[in-house]
């Protein structure tokens, strides 16, 4: 385990995201402990469900893993590299290239079409040509079954379509970690199942680790690993 903490390790080691004894306390008064002494390690192919009662620190753990937040103690390793020393700008760059986020709300930009929304992270990364980006966006939308929505505005989509468009956007730069925060919170059962089946497939490719926060036990059943948090601590993990 500790060997993977060395930056000299190949980035394509089995561990894509590892947290080690992380604690996050919201400064008070009174200080609130969001996450306390949590350690876990996820590899490509893992599909982990983070469950627990509300306020147990599920989302906070997700934001810490996804470099949106910094732990007060402990370390987050991304593809084997410790991340605490990175500047905000470097962390933004990692979010762009290595991490994909899906939230409870789709947060698609209303001024852009679905295709353009999916292309946003690619355009920011700037590694592909315009035509290659359009093609990749098309493939992602195809894969998520929303190809017919490509030229629609977010306002014209149903809840399920929006959330799938948001997933397509999260996958735009082919991230090693896909983090989803209650992605089915606003969806009906049928759409929720589609989303979780999609996540299962994405993990099964072996290309990435998928972590989903959910409080729906039916959805957690899709997952290969289940992490249960209570009061910011891991109470059980498979």
């Amino acid at each position: 385990m500790s060997a993977e903490a060395e930056p000299s390790q190949a980035p394509d080691g089995p561990s894509v995201v590892e947290v080690k004894n992380i604690t996050r306390i919201l400064p008070g008064p009174p200080p609130v402990t969001l996450v306390e002494d949590v350690s876990l390690d996820l590899a490509r192919g893992d599909f982990a469900a983070v469950t627990g009662p509300s306020g147990s620190g599920k989302s906070s753990l997700l934001y810490l893993m996804g470099l949106l937040d910094r732990p007060d103690r402990g370390e987050v390793f991304l593809q084997g590299h410790p991340t605490s020393a990175y500047s905000d700008s470097e962390r933004a760059r990692l979010r762009l290239s290595v991490i994909g986020y899906v939230f409870q709300f789709h947060f698609l930009l209303p001024e852009f079409t679905v295709t353009q929304n999916v292309m946003l992270p690619m355009r920011r990364l700037g590694k592909l040509s315009e035509s290659a980006m359009t093609q990749r966006a098309g493939e992602l939308m195809e894969k998520l079954g929303i190809a017919e929505c490509r030229d629609k505005r977010p306002g014209q989509l149903s809840g399920g379509e929006s959330q799938r468009a948001a997933i397509a956007r999260a996958l735009a730069n082919d991230p090693a970690v896909l983090l989803a925060d209650e992605p089915t919170g606003n969806l009906d059962t049928r759409n929720s199942e589609i989303v979780f089946q999609t996540f299962a497939q994405l993990a099964a490719d072996g290309e990435r680790a998928v972590v989903a926060v959910t409080h729906d036990p039916d959805m957690a059943a899709f997952c290969s690993r289940r992490i249960r948090l209570v009061d910011g601590r891991i109470s059980s993990m498979t």
Partner: protein, 414 residues
């Protein structure tokens, strides 16, 4: 299209009316600046050109700037000297030894020199008495120091030689008298000499102070009128380089002691008004642009507030603070740029409109309508100011957006 620019444009498109209003604010500021500057600068350059063109660049008078120092004052330079009942020595008026001075000044390169005797007279024609300044000149030399020859629109400067007791009047003066060419005036001087003089020509310079109050005659005639034979009380100089006037006037005054004025000093009151005019112009248009900047601040602030979620998602997707700041700064810049371009067109249009307005003005100068100056510098100044005001107005909301914590927003939303 660059991604951030794309986002910026879409944000503005989403607030079309507000954007348009702020854009018009900038455009009005820029446009008015250009039109007002064209008007003011046009008038000012015209005036300066006229002054330089029409009158001598330097004039030496038979006066002193300060009374001559008393011996006791030079003896106790740092002492407290108070002289009571001082009677300055009365000197015969006129520049002493003018001939030698003219000869010496003529030696300078790029300088033309002419003598003159100027005195107050009353012109009487029919039932009208009009006071005027009679200037006695040497027409041959005068040609080289002023543009009188060119400004005479009726008659010739040489006609002063052709007719005995000839006089050339300013157009406005002739109008006041009701006299035309060929009229014979009675000219009275303060010393009591009366001459019958014939109007042989009329001139107009465009400068009211000259056209309405000056008359030219031969130097000899004015010397007779004023009963000051062989006296010259003005030495008039014209320079190849007008900007040397101040320096040369100082030098001449130091050398000869007589009060020597450059054209800048002679017109200091008007040139001073120009400075104030320009200050008013810059502050007025500056105020318009400040108002416009508030408009832009308002739009961008609204967009930032409205787009907090979008800002959060962009940040979580991996856009950094600088990207976000640049996006909103670009929005201000775009409004500023578009406003500037519209303002340029507006300014040009307004200037063209002003050019068609016709009226008679008679202030410092006479003109039919506005004198306009289409200077690219005005467009550059207005554009640069509009653009930087717009960008600066966007800076505060942009910085606020850049500093937003995406986590707080996402937590708040879910």
């Amino acid at each position: 299209m660059h991604l951030l620019f794309d986002i910026a444009l879409r944000h503005l498109a989403g607030r079309r009316r507000q954007t348009l209003v702020s854009l018009l604010g900038v455009a009005l500021g820029v446009g008015f600046f250009i039109a007002i500057a064209a008007m003011m600068q046009g008038f000012q350059t015209y005036f300066v050109a006229k002054v330089i063109d029409v009158s001598p660049h330097i004039e030496m008078r038979d006066e002193y700037r300060k009374p001559p120092p008393q011996p006791v004052e030079s003896q106790y330079q740092n002492g407290l000297v108070h002289i009571l009942g001082l009677k300055p020595k009365s000197e015969p008026r006129g520049i002493k030894n003018a001939r030698a001075k003219i000869a010496a000044l003529s030696e300078l390169s790029g300088v033309a020199v002419a003598p003159a005797l100027s005195g107050q007279v009353i012109l009487r024609y029919g039932s009208k008495d009009v006071s005027a300044t009679a200037i006695g000149i040497d027409p041959k030399k005068e040609k080289s120091v002023s543009n009188l020859e060119r400004d005479i629109y009726l008659g010739e400067i040489e006609d002063l030689y052709a007719t005995a007791n000839a006089i050339i009047l300013g157009g406005g003066l002739a109008e006041k008298l009701g006299a035309d060419r060929g009229a014979t005036l009675t000219v009275l001087s303060p010393v009591g000499v009366v001459l019958k003089m014939k109007v042989v020509g009329l001139f107009t310079t465009g400068i009211v102070a000259m056209d309405n109050f000056q008359a030219y005659a031969l130097l000899k005639k004015v010397q007779v009128l004023e009963d000051r034979p062989n006296v010259v009380n003005r030495i008039r100089l014209r320079l190849a380089d007008v900007n040397q006037a101040d320096v040369l006037a100082r030098r001449i005054e130091t050398r000869y002691g007589y009060w020597t004025q450059s054209w800048k000093e002679a017109n200091a009151n008007v040139l001073g008004i120009f400075v104030i005019q320009n200050a008013i112009m810059y502050s007025t248009t500056g105020a318009i642009l400040v108002v416009a900047a508030f408009g832009i601040f308002n739009v961008i602030s609204t967009v930032v507030l409205e787009k907090t979620r979008d800002i959060a998602i962009l940040k979580s997707l991996g856009f950094n603070a600088r990207d976000i700041q640049a996006t909103f700064l670009l929005e201000g810049f775009v409004v500023g740029l578009a406003g500037t371009l519209v303002g340029w067109a507006l300014g040009y249009g307004l200037t063209e409109l002003l050019a068609t307005v016709e009226f008679e003005i008679e202030g410092f100068v006479r003109s039919q309508g506005f004198i306009l100056d289409y200077s690219p510098a005005h467009y550059l100044i207005a554009g640069a100011t509009g653009l930087s005001a717009a960008t600066f107005a966007a800076y505060l909301p942009a910085r606020k957006a850049a500093r937003m914590d995406p986590l707080a927003i996402i937590r708040g939303a879910s």
